[in-house]
Protein backbone atom coordinates (compact mmCIF):
# COMPACT_ATOMS: atom_id res chain seq x y z
CA UNK A 1 0.00 0.00 0.00
CA UNK A 2 1.32 3.35 -0.96
CA UNK A 3 1.06 6.17 1.51
CA UNK A 4 1.82 9.84 1.16
CA UNK A 5 3.65 12.00 3.67
CA UNK A 6 0.59 12.28 5.89
CA UNK A 7 0.13 8.48 6.02
CA UNK A 8 -3.00 8.73 3.94
CA UNK A 9 -3.62 5.87 1.51
CA UNK A 10 -2.78 6.84 -2.06
CA UNK A 11 -4.74 4.69 -4.50
CA UNK A 12 -3.02 3.31 -7.55
CA UNK A 13 -5.27 3.65 -10.58
CA UNK A 14 -4.64 2.16 -14.00
CA UNK A 15 -6.48 3.77 -16.91
CA UNK A 16 -6.97 1.85 -20.14
CA UNK A 17 -7.91 4.42 -22.77
CA UNK A 18 -8.32 4.60 -26.52
CA UNK A 19 -5.84 6.57 -28.56
CA UNK A 20 -8.33 8.63 -30.55
CA UNK A 21 -10.67 10.08 -27.97
CA UNK A 22 -9.78 9.69 -24.31
CA UNK A 23 -6.03 9.83 -24.76
CA UNK A 24 -6.42 13.01 -26.78
CA UNK A 25 -8.92 14.24 -24.18
CA UNK A 26 -6.40 13.63 -21.40
CA UNK A 27 -3.85 15.52 -23.48
CA UNK A 28 -6.28 18.41 -23.70
CA UNK A 29 -6.68 18.34 -19.91
CA UNK A 30 -2.94 18.95 -19.69
CA UNK A 31 -2.71 21.62 -22.35
CA UNK A 32 -5.70 23.37 -20.74
CA UNK A 33 -3.68 23.41 -17.49
CA UNK A 34 -6.47 21.72 -15.55
CA UNK A 35 -5.05 20.21 -12.36
CA UNK A 36 -6.09 16.67 -11.44
CA UNK A 37 -5.02 13.76 -9.24
CA UNK A 38 -1.69 12.16 -10.08
CA UNK A 39 -2.63 8.63 -9.01
CA UNK A 40 -3.47 7.45 -12.48
CA UNK A 41 -1.18 5.57 -14.87
CA UNK A 42 -2.49 5.73 -18.42
CA UNK A 43 -2.14 2.81 -20.82
CA UNK A 44 -2.93 3.81 -24.40
CA UNK A 45 -4.73 1.42 -26.74
CA UNK A 46 -5.66 1.85 -30.39
CA UNK A 47 -9.31 1.36 -29.46
CA UNK A 48 -11.49 0.28 -26.52
CA UNK A 49 -12.23 -2.78 -28.65
CA UNK A 50 -8.63 -3.83 -28.07
CA UNK A 51 -8.88 -3.79 -24.27
CA UNK A 52 -8.93 -7.50 -23.39
CA UNK A 53 -10.81 -8.22 -20.17
CA UNK A 54 -7.74 -10.09 -18.89
CA UNK A 55 -5.89 -6.76 -18.77
CA UNK A 56 -8.22 -5.63 -16.01
CA UNK A 57 -7.59 -8.78 -13.99
CA UNK A 58 -3.84 -8.40 -14.59
CA UNK A 59 -3.99 -4.79 -13.42
CA UNK A 60 -5.66 -5.82 -10.16
CA UNK A 61 -3.22 -8.71 -9.72
CA UNK A 62 -0.34 -6.28 -10.33
CA UNK A 63 -1.47 -4.05 -7.50
CA UNK A 64 -4.05 -1.63 -8.93
CA UNK A 65 -6.67 -0.42 -6.45
CA UNK A 66 -8.90 0.95 -9.17
CA UNK A 67 -9.26 0.90 -12.95
CA UNK A 68 -10.59 3.41 -15.45
CA UNK A 69 -11.77 2.25 -18.87
CA UNK A 70 -12.49 5.00 -21.33
CA UNK A 71 -12.84 5.61 -25.05
CA UNK A 72 -14.89 7.33 -27.74
CA UNK A 73 -18.58 7.98 -27.26
CA UNK A 74 -20.90 5.58 -29.14
CA UNK A 75 -20.99 6.41 -32.88
CA UNK A 76 -17.65 8.25 -32.60
CA UNK A 77 -15.31 5.25 -32.83
CA UNK A 78 -12.33 5.80 -35.12
CA UNK A 79 -12.89 2.24 -36.37
CA UNK A 80 -16.69 2.66 -36.51
CA UNK A 81 -17.67 -0.17 -34.16
CA UNK A 82 -14.79 -0.91 -31.76
CA UNK A 83 -16.50 0.75 -28.84
CA UNK A 84 -19.79 -1.04 -29.56
CA UNK A 85 -17.97 -4.36 -29.31
CA UNK A 86 -16.23 -3.16 -26.16
CA UNK A 87 -19.53 -2.08 -24.62
CA UNK A 88 -20.97 -5.57 -25.06
CA UNK A 89 -17.87 -7.15 -23.62
CA UNK A 90 -18.11 -4.97 -20.52
CA UNK A 91 -21.82 -5.64 -20.13
CA UNK A 92 -21.15 -9.38 -19.98
CA UNK A 93 -17.88 -9.15 -18.07
CA UNK A 94 -19.17 -6.81 -15.40
CA UNK A 95 -22.03 -9.18 -14.49
CA UNK A 96 -19.59 -12.07 -14.39
CA UNK A 97 -17.15 -10.26 -12.11
CA UNK A 98 -19.94 -9.18 -9.81
CA UNK A 99 -21.23 -12.76 -9.54
CA UNK A 100 -17.75 -13.92 -8.59
CA UNK A 101 -17.41 -11.25 -5.94
CA UNK A 102 -14.78 -9.16 -7.68
CA UNK A 103 -15.35 -5.54 -6.71
CA UNK A 104 -16.84 -3.84 -9.79
CA UNK A 105 -17.16 -0.60 -7.84
CA UNK A 106 -13.41 -0.29 -8.35
CA UNK A 107 -13.78 -0.17 -12.12
CA UNK A 108 -14.94 3.09 -13.65
CA UNK A 109 -16.27 3.08 -17.19
CA UNK A 110 -16.60 6.33 -19.07
CA UNK A 111 -16.82 7.82 -22.54
CA UNK A 112 -14.46 10.79 -22.83
CA UNK A 113 -14.04 12.50 -26.20
CA UNK A 114 -11.00 14.42 -27.46
CA UNK A 115 -12.81 17.65 -26.64
CA UNK A 116 -13.67 16.69 -23.05
CA UNK A 117 -10.49 17.63 -21.21
CA UNK A 118 -12.44 18.84 -18.20
CA UNK A 119 -14.50 15.63 -18.08
CA UNK A 120 -11.31 13.55 -17.97
CA UNK A 121 -10.11 15.51 -14.95
CA UNK A 122 -13.48 14.94 -13.29
CA UNK A 123 -13.45 11.20 -14.05
CA UNK A 124 -9.98 10.82 -12.57
CA UNK A 125 -10.62 12.97 -9.50
CA UNK A 126 -13.91 11.26 -8.87
CA UNK A 127 -12.40 7.78 -9.17
CA UNK A 128 -9.40 8.59 -7.00
CA UNK A 129 -11.68 10.04 -4.34
CA UNK A 130 -13.93 7.01 -4.38
CA UNK A 131 -11.09 4.47 -4.27
CA UNK A 132 -9.38 6.44 -1.50
CA UNK A 133 -12.55 6.02 0.52
CA UNK A 134 -12.75 2.31 -0.31
CA UNK A 135 -9.13 1.69 0.66
CA UNK A 136 -6.61 -0.64 -0.98
CA UNK A 137 -7.87 -3.74 -2.80
CA UNK A 138 -6.17 -6.02 -0.28
CA UNK A 139 -8.16 -9.23 -0.82
CA UNK A 140 -7.26 -9.39 -4.50
CA UNK A 141 -3.61 -8.58 -3.92
CA UNK A 142 -3.48 -11.26 -1.26
CA UNK A 143 -4.90 -13.86 -3.64
CA UNK A 144 -2.32 -12.79 -6.24
CA UNK A 145 0.51 -13.35 -3.77
CA UNK A 146 -0.31 -17.02 -3.17
CA UNK A 147 3.21 -18.26 -3.97
CA UNK A 148 4.97 -15.63 -1.88
CA UNK A 149 3.26 -16.95 1.24
CA UNK A 150 5.57 -19.97 1.34
CA UNK A 151 8.50 -19.34 3.65
CA UNK A 152 11.86 -18.88 1.95
CA UNK A 153 15.33 -18.37 3.38
CA UNK A 154 18.43 -16.79 2.04
CA UNK A 155 21.08 -19.15 0.77
Amino acid sequence: MEENNNNIFEPRIIAFVCNWCTYAGADLTGTSRIKYATNVEIVRFPCTGRIDFMLLLKAFAGGADGIIISGCHPNDCHYTSGNFHARRRWMVFRDMLDFMGIDIERIRWSWVSAAEGAKWADVVNDTVGKIREMGPYTEYKKAAKFLEEEKIIHE
Partner: protein, 260 residues
Protein backbone atom coordinates in the same frame (compact mmCIF):
# COMPACT_ATOMS: atom_id res chain seq x y z
CA UNK B 1 -31.59 -56.02 -31.19
CA UNK B 2 -33.04 -52.64 -30.34
CA UNK B 3 -34.42 -50.32 -32.99
CA UNK B 4 -31.47 -48.02 -32.37
CA UNK B 5 -28.90 -50.77 -32.86
CA UNK B 6 -30.68 -51.92 -36.02
CA UNK B 7 -30.78 -48.44 -37.48
CA UNK B 8 -27.11 -47.86 -36.69
CA UNK B 9 -26.10 -51.25 -38.09
CA UNK B 10 -28.01 -50.53 -41.28
CA UNK B 11 -26.28 -47.17 -41.76
CA UNK B 12 -22.92 -48.89 -41.38
CA UNK B 13 -23.66 -51.93 -43.54
CA UNK B 14 -25.14 -49.81 -46.31
CA UNK B 15 -22.02 -47.70 -46.21
CA UNK B 16 -23.91 -44.47 -45.52
CA UNK B 17 -21.55 -43.73 -42.64
CA UNK B 18 -18.15 -45.08 -41.58
CA UNK B 19 -18.74 -44.71 -37.86
CA UNK B 20 -21.58 -44.24 -35.39
CA UNK B 21 -20.98 -42.34 -32.17
CA UNK B 22 -23.50 -43.18 -29.47
CA UNK B 23 -23.76 -44.40 -25.90
CA UNK B 24 -23.00 -47.77 -24.33
CA UNK B 25 -23.29 -49.01 -20.77
CA UNK B 26 -20.20 -48.08 -18.75
CA UNK B 27 -19.02 -48.96 -15.26
CA UNK B 28 -21.73 -47.10 -13.42
CA UNK B 29 -23.42 -45.00 -16.07
CA UNK B 30 -23.52 -44.83 -19.86
CA UNK B 31 -20.44 -43.62 -21.70
CA UNK B 32 -19.58 -42.68 -25.29
CA UNK B 33 -19.33 -45.59 -27.72
CA UNK B 34 -17.80 -45.77 -31.20
CA UNK B 35 -19.16 -48.31 -33.65
CA UNK B 36 -17.16 -49.10 -36.78
CA UNK B 37 -18.80 -52.38 -37.79
CA UNK B 38 -22.50 -53.32 -37.83
CA UNK B 39 -21.91 -55.87 -35.06
CA UNK B 40 -20.53 -53.14 -32.78
CA UNK B 41 -23.95 -51.51 -32.78
CA UNK B 42 -25.47 -54.07 -30.43
CA UNK B 43 -23.84 -52.21 -27.57
CA UNK B 44 -25.69 -48.99 -28.32
CA UNK B 45 -28.16 -47.77 -25.74
CA UNK B 46 -30.12 -44.59 -25.18
CA UNK B 47 -31.77 -43.48 -21.95
CA UNK B 48 -32.01 -40.55 -19.52
CA UNK B 49 -28.64 -41.44 -18.04
CA UNK B 50 -26.88 -40.80 -21.37
CA UNK B 51 -25.47 -37.42 -20.48
CA UNK B 52 -22.10 -37.09 -22.23
CA UNK B 53 -22.17 -34.41 -24.89
CA UNK B 54 -21.01 -36.47 -27.86
CA UNK B 55 -20.65 -33.38 -30.03
CA UNK B 56 -17.24 -32.95 -28.39
CA UNK B 57 -15.92 -35.61 -30.79
CA UNK B 58 -17.28 -33.94 -33.93
CA UNK B 59 -14.44 -31.40 -34.03
CA UNK B 60 -11.71 -33.99 -33.41
CA UNK B 61 -10.21 -34.84 -36.79
CA UNK B 62 -8.25 -37.77 -35.39
CA UNK B 63 -11.51 -39.42 -34.35
CA UNK B 64 -13.89 -38.67 -37.20
CA UNK B 65 -11.37 -38.36 -40.05
CA UNK B 66 -12.67 -37.26 -43.42
CA UNK B 67 -15.47 -39.81 -43.58
CA UNK B 68 -19.16 -39.45 -42.98
CA UNK B 69 -20.16 -40.26 -39.41
CA UNK B 70 -23.42 -40.68 -37.55
CA UNK B 71 -24.12 -39.48 -34.05
CA UNK B 72 -26.98 -40.59 -31.81
CA UNK B 73 -27.05 -37.84 -29.26
CA UNK B 74 -29.22 -36.36 -26.55
CA UNK B 75 -30.94 -32.96 -26.65
CA UNK B 76 -27.72 -31.09 -25.91
CA UNK B 77 -25.81 -32.86 -28.68
CA UNK B 78 -28.40 -31.57 -31.16
CA UNK B 79 -28.19 -28.10 -29.67
CA UNK B 80 -24.40 -28.19 -29.88
CA UNK B 81 -24.43 -29.34 -33.51
CA UNK B 82 -26.50 -26.24 -34.33
CA UNK B 83 -23.96 -24.02 -32.60
CA UNK B 84 -20.94 -25.78 -34.13
CA UNK B 85 -22.53 -25.36 -37.55
CA UNK B 86 -23.08 -21.66 -36.84
CA UNK B 87 -19.37 -21.42 -36.07
CA UNK B 88 -18.40 -23.35 -39.23
CA UNK B 89 -16.71 -26.09 -37.25
CA UNK B 90 -18.47 -29.07 -38.79
CA UNK B 91 -19.40 -30.23 -42.25
CA UNK B 92 -23.08 -31.19 -42.19
CA UNK B 93 -22.62 -33.05 -45.49
CA UNK B 94 -20.51 -35.56 -43.59
CA UNK B 95 -22.79 -35.93 -40.61
CA UNK B 96 -25.94 -37.87 -39.81
CA UNK B 97 -27.48 -36.48 -36.64
CA UNK B 98 -29.94 -38.66 -34.80
CA UNK B 99 -31.68 -38.87 -31.47
CA UNK B 100 -34.08 -41.26 -29.81
CA UNK B 101 -37.55 -40.08 -28.81
CA UNK B 102 -39.50 -42.77 -27.01
CA UNK B 103 -39.51 -45.67 -29.47
CA UNK B 104 -38.61 -43.58 -32.47
CA UNK B 105 -35.25 -42.84 -33.98
CA UNK B 106 -35.29 -39.29 -35.32
CA UNK B 107 -32.88 -38.46 -38.13
CA UNK B 108 -32.50 -34.76 -38.75
CA UNK B 109 -32.47 -33.63 -42.37
CA UNK B 110 -31.48 -30.04 -41.75
CA UNK B 111 -30.45 -27.47 -39.17
CA UNK B 112 -34.03 -26.13 -39.23
CA UNK B 113 -35.32 -29.52 -38.14
CA UNK B 114 -32.78 -29.64 -35.36
CA UNK B 115 -33.73 -26.13 -34.25
CA UNK B 116 -37.37 -27.12 -34.23
CA UNK B 117 -36.58 -30.18 -32.11
CA UNK B 118 -34.50 -28.12 -29.71
CA UNK B 119 -37.24 -25.48 -29.41
CA UNK B 120 -39.88 -28.04 -28.57
CA UNK B 121 -37.94 -30.40 -26.31
CA UNK B 122 -36.31 -28.10 -23.80
CA UNK B 123 -35.40 -30.11 -20.67
CA UNK B 124 -36.65 -29.01 -17.28
CA UNK B 125 -34.17 -26.61 -15.69
CA UNK B 126 -31.89 -28.12 -13.08
CA UNK B 127 -33.43 -26.91 -9.82
CA UNK B 128 -30.24 -27.59 -7.86
CA UNK B 129 -28.20 -25.31 -10.11
CA UNK B 130 -30.82 -22.56 -9.94
CA UNK B 131 -30.93 -22.85 -6.14
CA UNK B 132 -27.16 -22.40 -5.90
CA UNK B 133 -27.30 -19.38 -8.20
CA UNK B 134 -30.03 -17.88 -6.04
CA UNK B 135 -28.01 -18.57 -2.91
CA UNK B 136 -24.93 -16.86 -4.36
CA UNK B 137 -26.96 -13.91 -5.66
CA UNK B 138 -28.19 -13.28 -2.13
CA UNK B 139 -24.68 -13.16 -0.68
CA UNK B 140 -22.85 -9.92 -0.08
CA UNK B 141 -20.00 -9.14 -2.45
CA UNK B 142 -17.31 -10.22 -0.03
CA UNK B 143 -19.18 -13.45 0.72
CA UNK B 144 -19.32 -14.15 -3.00
CA UNK B 145 -15.58 -13.52 -3.27
CA UNK B 146 -14.89 -15.86 -0.36
CA UNK B 147 -17.16 -18.52 -1.81
CA UNK B 148 -15.53 -18.54 -5.24
CA UNK B 149 -12.03 -18.14 -3.91
CA UNK B 150 -12.46 -21.11 -1.61
CA UNK B 151 -14.19 -23.26 -4.24
CA UNK B 152 -11.78 -22.49 -7.06
CA UNK B 153 -8.72 -22.84 -4.81
CA UNK B 154 -9.41 -26.58 -4.95
CA UNK B 155 -9.04 -26.65 -8.74
CA UNK B 156 -6.03 -28.70 -9.84
CA UNK B 157 -6.09 -27.45 -13.44
CA UNK B 158 -6.65 -30.83 -15.04
CA UNK B 159 -8.72 -29.02 -17.68
CA UNK B 160 -11.39 -31.72 -17.69
CA UNK B 161 -13.93 -28.88 -17.96
CA UNK B 162 -12.27 -27.71 -21.15
CA UNK B 163 -11.86 -31.21 -22.57
CA UNK B 164 -15.48 -32.17 -21.96
CA UNK B 165 -16.88 -28.98 -23.48
CA UNK B 166 -17.86 -29.46 -27.13
CA UNK B 167 -17.45 -25.74 -27.76
CA UNK B 168 -13.91 -25.56 -26.33
CA UNK B 169 -12.42 -26.77 -29.58
CA UNK B 170 -9.47 -24.37 -30.00
CA UNK B 171 -6.25 -26.12 -30.95
CA UNK B 172 -4.36 -23.74 -28.75
CA UNK B 173 -6.23 -22.54 -25.71
CA UNK B 174 -5.85 -19.04 -24.28
CA UNK B 175 -4.59 -20.55 -21.04
CA UNK B 176 -1.61 -21.95 -22.91
CA UNK B 177 -0.56 -18.58 -24.31
CA UNK B 178 2.79 -17.95 -22.69
CA UNK B 179 4.50 -15.14 -24.60
CA UNK B 180 3.85 -13.27 -22.40
CA UNK B 181 2.42 -15.48 -19.69
CA UNK B 182 -1.28 -14.64 -19.66
CA UNK B 183 -2.85 -16.99 -17.14
CA UNK B 184 -0.35 -18.63 -14.83
CA UNK B 185 -0.32 -22.33 -15.68
CA UNK B 186 0.04 -23.67 -12.15
CA UNK B 187 -2.81 -24.22 -9.74
CA UNK B 188 -3.17 -21.19 -7.46
CA UNK B 189 -6.30 -19.40 -6.24
CA UNK B 190 -6.07 -16.41 -8.54
CA UNK B 191 -4.90 -18.13 -11.70
CA UNK B 192 -7.63 -20.75 -11.20
CA UNK B 193 -10.17 -17.93 -11.05
CA UNK B 194 -8.67 -16.26 -14.10
CA UNK B 195 -8.85 -19.53 -15.97
CA UNK B 196 -12.53 -19.97 -15.13
CA UNK B 197 -13.33 -16.34 -16.00
CA UNK B 198 -11.66 -16.82 -19.38
CA UNK B 199 -13.44 -20.10 -20.00
CA UNK B 200 -16.79 -18.59 -19.18
CA UNK B 201 -16.22 -15.34 -21.11
CA UNK B 202 -15.31 -17.35 -24.19
CA UNK B 203 -18.59 -19.21 -23.80
CA UNK B 204 -20.72 -16.08 -23.68
CA UNK B 205 -23.84 -16.73 -25.69
CA UNK B 206 -22.31 -19.91 -27.14
CA UNK B 207 -22.79 -22.19 -24.14
CA UNK B 208 -25.59 -24.69 -24.78
CA UNK B 209 -25.97 -25.40 -21.06
CA UNK B 210 -25.26 -29.14 -21.17
CA UNK B 211 -23.39 -28.91 -17.87
CA UNK B 212 -20.66 -31.28 -19.01
CA UNK B 213 -17.95 -28.95 -17.65
CA UNK B 214 -19.30 -29.45 -14.15
CA UNK B 215 -19.99 -33.15 -14.67
CA UNK B 216 -16.41 -33.68 -15.85
CA UNK B 217 -14.83 -31.92 -12.87
CA UNK B 218 -13.29 -34.66 -10.74
CA UNK B 219 -13.48 -32.35 -7.71
CA UNK B 220 -17.15 -31.50 -8.24
CA UNK B 221 -16.45 -27.76 -8.35
CA UNK B 222 -19.53 -25.65 -9.09
CA UNK B 223 -18.16 -24.37 -12.39
CA UNK B 224 -21.37 -25.15 -14.27
CA UNK B 225 -22.97 -22.43 -12.14
CA UNK B 226 -20.76 -19.85 -13.84
CA UNK B 227 -21.76 -20.71 -17.41
CA UNK B 228 -25.39 -21.11 -16.41
CA UNK B 229 -25.47 -17.73 -14.69
CA UNK B 230 -23.73 -16.10 -17.63
CA UNK B 231 -26.33 -17.59 -19.97
CA UNK B 232 -29.14 -16.24 -17.80
CA UNK B 233 -27.55 -12.78 -17.65
CA UNK B 234 -27.09 -12.69 -21.41
CA UNK B 235 -30.72 -13.69 -21.99
CA UNK B 236 -31.82 -10.86 -19.70
CA UNK B 237 -29.45 -8.26 -21.06
CA UNK B 238 -29.84 -8.99 -24.75
CA UNK B 239 -33.54 -9.82 -24.89
CA UNK B 240 -33.82 -13.60 -25.05
CA UNK B 241 -30.58 -14.01 -26.98
CA UNK B 242 -30.07 -17.40 -28.66
CA UNK B 243 -27.95 -16.66 -31.69
CA UNK B 244 -24.54 -17.90 -30.57
CA UNK B 245 -21.61 -15.76 -29.53
CA UNK B 246 -22.91 -12.54 -28.08
CA UNK B 247 -19.47 -10.92 -28.25
CA UNK B 248 -18.68 -11.38 -31.92
CA UNK B 249 -21.36 -8.89 -32.85
CA UNK B 250 -22.98 -5.76 -31.44
CA UNK B 251 -26.06 -3.64 -31.55
CA UNK B 252 -25.87 0.16 -31.53
CA UNK B 253 -28.90 0.13 -29.25
CA UNK B 254 -27.30 -1.99 -26.51
CA UNK B 255 -28.33 -0.50 -23.17
CA UNK B 256 -26.12 -0.36 -20.11
CA UNK B 257 -26.20 1.88 -17.07
CA UNK B 258 -22.59 1.97 -15.93
CA UNK B 259 -20.64 3.84 -18.63
CA UNK B 260 -20.82 7.46 -17.61
Amino acid sequence: MSKLSEKAATLLSEGTVKMIIGYEQGTERPRPAFCHKPEDCERLIFNDQCSNNLAVYLTKKEIIGEDKVGVVGNYYVIKTVIQLNRENQINLQNLVVMTVDGDDIITFGSIDEMQQYVDTHEPVPNEKVLAVIEKIDKMSRSERWDYWKSELSKCVRCYACRAACPLCYCNRCVTEVNCPQWIEPWAAPLSNMEWQINRVMHMSGRCVGCGECAAACPLELPIGILTKKMGMDIKNTFGGWKDGSVLSTYNVNDKENFIK
